[in-house]
């Protein structure tokens, strides 16, 4: 039962995100797409963990080790599915590959020059800086950008460690 509920987590996030986005549109509140996705994952995961805790309620006293193991199983599996959902959404929002494909889809045919004109270095940098400000990772004061939170910085350290483990350089050459 728990495994089935976990398998249904991604459709649940999707439904919550649809409802959340349409509610925000209806009451005229601007919400960053990433924040919307994150909130949907948080709400969906809370509901699932709550449901699992309810299913386990009879075993709290009799078999605490099993309850802890079940929660670890739920959290590991849920983190995997939540990340997958987040990554799929991120592909649609920030992936350059997908952006190029969607640009071609909308205009049927496109030359490389036209893509470069509307998707240049300055545009890419500005978009990323705006997004990093929206999610609270950097801040802007007197036209200068500063690091505001070290969360993504620590995340990048994990990626650098994994690059080294797999034999890739950590600096772009």
């Amino acid at each position: 039962m728990i495994a089935i509920v976990l398998l249904l987590s991604s459709p649940l996030y999707f439904i919550i995100q649809i409802i959340l986005n349409w509610i925000c549109k209806f009451i005229n509140i601007s919400i960053s797409p990433f924040v919307g996705c994150f909130v949907s994952i948080l709400l969906g995961s809370t509901a699932i963990v709550g449901y699992v805790l309810l299913l386990l309620s009879d075993n709290y006293m009799h078999n605490p080790l099993e309850v802890i193991s079940c929660l670890i199983f739920t959290l590991f599996t849920l983190v995997g599915f939540a990340y997958m959902y987040f990554a799929t959404f991120a592909i649609s929002e920030v992936s350059l590959h997908m952006h190029i494909m969607l640009m071609i889809l909308i205009s049927k045919e496109l030359s490389i020059e036209e893509i470069k004109k509307s998707y240049n270095k300055t545009y890419m940098l500005e978009e990323r800086l705006t997004r990093l400000i929206e999610i609270g990772q950097i801040c802007k004061r007197d036209n200068l950008y500063y690091v505001n939170s070290k969360l993504l910085l620590y995340g990048s350290r994990i990626f650098d460690f994994w690059k080294t483990l797999l034999g890739f350089p950590i600096k772009l050459q």
């Binding site: 599996t77 990554a87 920030v94 893509i115 300055t122 890419m124 007197d142």
Partner: protein
């Protein structure tokens, strides 16, 4: 039962990671979208087959009952979830994320900020962004070029249309901000 599931799931994931690192250290395959799923699905399947062989030739005494298969099945779901997360993360590991590079550059300044003009990242150069991505998309058969015009192939059209519809259902513009 759940203790066994967690241990079994983590075992499958760790062994698959070791196989992945060993292969990448021997020769780094370019076709990672094929190699990674093969490794992360193939390794537990291989463990499952080896386990059965060992039981049948009586090298280990194990009762192959329904409860055991339920444990293996549930642990496989956990393993697949963790593996899918890792496979989704992988392009972020091997390619350089411009957002992470911006954060690293700003962190190096230690309190003194940078203006947009001073943020000069090689990762955002034309050759590392548009040109590289277009080449990837052509090589993977998602787009094709004819008389300097790019157009979607059948498979590329299906993929792009799916993402377009997904975004529209979420109430977002068909194309992200990039």
């Amino acid at each position: 039962m759940f203790t066994e599931i967690v241990i079994c799931g983590l075992f499958q994931f760790i062994v698959s990671q070791i196989v992945h690192v060993l292969i990448w250290r021997t020769f780094s395959p370019k076709a990672y979208p094929i190699w990674l799923p093969v490794i992360f699905i193939g390794t537990p399947v291989a463990i499952f087959i080896i386990l059965h062989i060992l039981v049948f030739i009586r090298l280990i005494g194990l009762d192959l009952n329904d409860a055991l298969y339920l444990t293996i099945g549930s642990s496989f779901i956990m393993h697949i979830s963790l593996s899918a997360m890792y496979i989704h993360m992988y392009p972020g590991i091997i390619f350089f994320s411009p957002s992470l590079e911006v954060i690293k550059l700003l962190a190096e300044r230690k309190g003194t900020g940078l203006s947009i003009e001073e943020i000069d990242l090689p990762v955002l150069s034309e050759s590392n962004t548009i040109d590289m991505r277009i080449n990837h998309l052509i090589k993977s058969g998602m787009i094709a070029e004819n008389s300097n015009q790019l157009f979607l192939t059948k498979i590329g059209y299906s993929v792009a249309k799916s993402f377009y519809l997904y975004r529209r259902m979420l109430g977002l513009p068909g194309i992200g901000r990039g």
